[in-house]
């Protein structure tokens, strides 16, 4: 069998088995890795049948499901915590955001978090000048002083923080305010039905990698073999890897199966995201029920192994 995976260059533990070829061994499939720079393209690729398993953020995931693409979520990479944050200059309270220029990559998880935070603070989104910029351009605009802040992720976030930016809120805060954002692995339903064992093996390997990291996060320091592999694949600096890894709250396989994640929390988060996107006028309608887009089948099978 073939297994075509669409991944994104994000610093997370499964880069290690990806580098080691563990997925090939465990699934027994011929694995092809396709790198994407954003969730929207991953969704398009899954829809076209070009890939079987893909890595997406919660926003593109919600969009895909709302458009009734036949996919399901098999593994939550983790809730985004300090990895994405609103860093600003010359602003100390949320109220002062009015009239300021805040940049964020539109449609990303960061964009969603920014809007959720503003809503939480009771700041009218229309009073803030929200600009659509990609991370590297955010760094440049910040450097130049064209923007007052940005909701963005690493390494640009770190770059901003090291040049006078202070964090007003991060995604961990936003999650508490009822707007969790997360990344997840999704699968084409058709593929999952035809090759349940491959998908299960995929989840198992990924879960094992997370377990290895969670067992001793400090061991994955800048000089470690793991950090080296992650850096090599993603393009990040090896020295930055430990910090980048701390930006997510990675759940173990057992937590995945619980009501906090695939067991219920994920469905709720998707539904909330959908409602929010409808409110923003970005998609025309939400589904009444998102539970069909989430399954614990594979994490449970992996735990059972």
């Amino acid at each position: 069998v073939d297994l075509r995976i669409g991944w994104q260059p994000i610093v997370e533990p499964s880069r290690v088995p990806q580098a080691d070829g563990t997925y090939e061994q465990a699934t027994g499939a011929t694995v092809t890795w396709n790198r994407f720079e954003g969730g929207a393209d991953v969704v398009a690729a899954i829809a076209s049948g070009s890939i079987d398993i893909g890595y997406v953020g919660s926003s593109p995931l919600t969009v895909a499901v709302s458009q009734q693409l036949p996919i399901e979520t098999i593994f939550v990479v983790g809730n985004i915590a300090e990895a994405e944050a609103l860093a600003v200059k010359g602003v100390t309270t949320p109220e002062e955001l009015a009239g300021k220029k805040i940049a964020t990559p539109f449609v990303s998880t960061a964009h969603y978090s920014l809007l959720t935070a503003l809503k939480h603070w009771g700041v009218d989104a229309g009073s803030v000048e929200i600009l659509n910029l990609r991370p590297p351009e955010i760094a440049a605009a910040w450097e130049r002083g064209d923007i007052d802040g940005a909701y963005v992720w690493d390494p640009v976030l770190t770059q901003i923080k090291s040049t006078g930016g202070t964090v007003l809120a991060d995604s961990a805060d936003v999650a508490e305010w009822g707007g969790p954002t997360f990344d997840a692995w999704i699968v084409r339903k058709e593929y999952a039905e035809a090759n349940p064992d491959v998908v299960e093996a995929f989840v198992k390997v990924t879960g094992d990698a997370y377990a290895a990291y969670l067992a001793d996060p400090e061991a994955w320091n800048a000089e470690s073999a793991e950090a080296g592999k992650i850096a090599e694949l993603s393009g990040a600096n090896a020295a930055d890897v430990p910090l980048l890894l701390k930006g997510y709250v990675f759940p173990s396989l057992e937590q995945q199966a619980s009501a906090d994640f695939l067991g219920g929390g994920t469905t709720e988060a998707i539904a909330a995201t959908a409602a929010f996107l409808v409110e923003q006028g970005r998609i025309s309608a939400a589904l009444p029920d998102y539970s069909g887009a989430v399954t614990t089948k594979f994490v449970e099978a992996a735990i059972g192994q």
């Binding site: 593109p60 009734q68 693409l69 659509n132 990609r134 351009e137 130049r144 064209d146």
Partner: protein, 278 residues
């Protein structure tokens, strides 16, 4: 003495010939319409019969309704006309600057060895630069305002104009250039009275190619903190899989480009008829 020639009555054969000629003239337009109709029909069948998921290729009818929606209520906070206005302004500012810089640059490259030595490496270096890669540098130097957007578009247009201008100048025949010089044309006069007119058809071709390039770069340019614009609208819609808006946006771009292409061709036929008559 001028002998007036009255028109003799037309024979049947002559009338037939005139008819064929009329037909022949109408043929291209008819063929074009036929192809367009065929494509739309095929599209309709493809999207309604389930060959392609309507998420990725909505049927023509839903594009039409998206279009109406865009026109009346808009998308991402602006109506269609506002998006069009913003983008038109950017593309034509960029065209203006790239002609302003590109035509003289092309003239210099074609006429002065030193000009060529200095400008050629610069042009050849800039030409293949991918806008997606140098956007951060553009922002560092020019900020996130309109300047950057116009600059990115202009950078994608200028090469076609420069190269076409240079090629056009070289198309002035040796004897035309010699003639002008022998009548005492200063280098500047040679340029304005001979090389430039000779290059006009080629410059027009360059502008046509450049406008095409400009529209394709629009989306990249509007990655830079745009709050309005067709590229921005398409971009946002694409991310949310709102494919009908994407396609409607693309069609609007095509229609605008089409209109300007027609205008340029009209200008070509009207003002540089000699390019077809030699």
């Amino acid at each position: 003495m001028t002998v007036a020639t009255e028109a003799a009555p037309l024979s049947q054969a002559e009338r037939d010939r005139a008819k064929t000629r009329r037909w022949r003239k109408a043929l291209p337009a008819l063929a074009g319409l036929g192809v367009t109709a065929f494509v739309i029909a095929l599209w309709h069948v493809a999207s309604t019969s389930g060959w392609v998921s309507p998420v990725f290729l909505p049927p023509p009818a839903s594009i039409l309704s998206a279009f109406l929606r865009l026109f009346h209520t808009g998308y991402v906070d602006s109506t269609l006309l506002q998006h069009i206005g913003a983008s038109l302004w950017r593309v034509f500012s960029a065209l203006f600057f790239s002609v302003l810089v590109g035509v003289p640059a092309g003239l210099l490259i074609a006429t002065s060895p030193t000009g060529r030595g200095v400008l050629d490496p610069i042009v050849e270096f800039l030409r293949p630069l991918p806008p997606l890669a140098y956007l951060p540098l553009v922002i560092i130097w020019f900020g996130i305002g309109e300047t950057s957007k116009v600059l990115v578009i202009a950078l994608s247009m200028a090469p076609a104009i420069i190269i076409s201008t240079a090629a056009g100048v070289r198309s002035a025949s040796k004897s035309q250039v010699n003639a002008a010089r022998a009548f005492g044309a200063t280098p500047l006069q040679l340029l304005t009275h001979v090389l430039l007119p000779a290059a006009v058809p080629s410059i027009l071709t360059g502008i046509r190619i450049a406008l095409g390039a400009g529209w394709t770069t629009l989306v990249a340019a509007e990655l830079v903190a745009a709050g309005r614009g067709l590229g921005y609208m398409i971009q946002s819609a694409a991310q949310f899989l709102v494919t009908d808006v994407v396609i409607a946006g693309i069609l609007v771009i095509s229609a605008i480009a089409f209109a300007f292409e027609a205008l340029l061709r009209f200008i070509e036929r009207r003002y540089v008829p000699w390019s077809r008559n030699q």
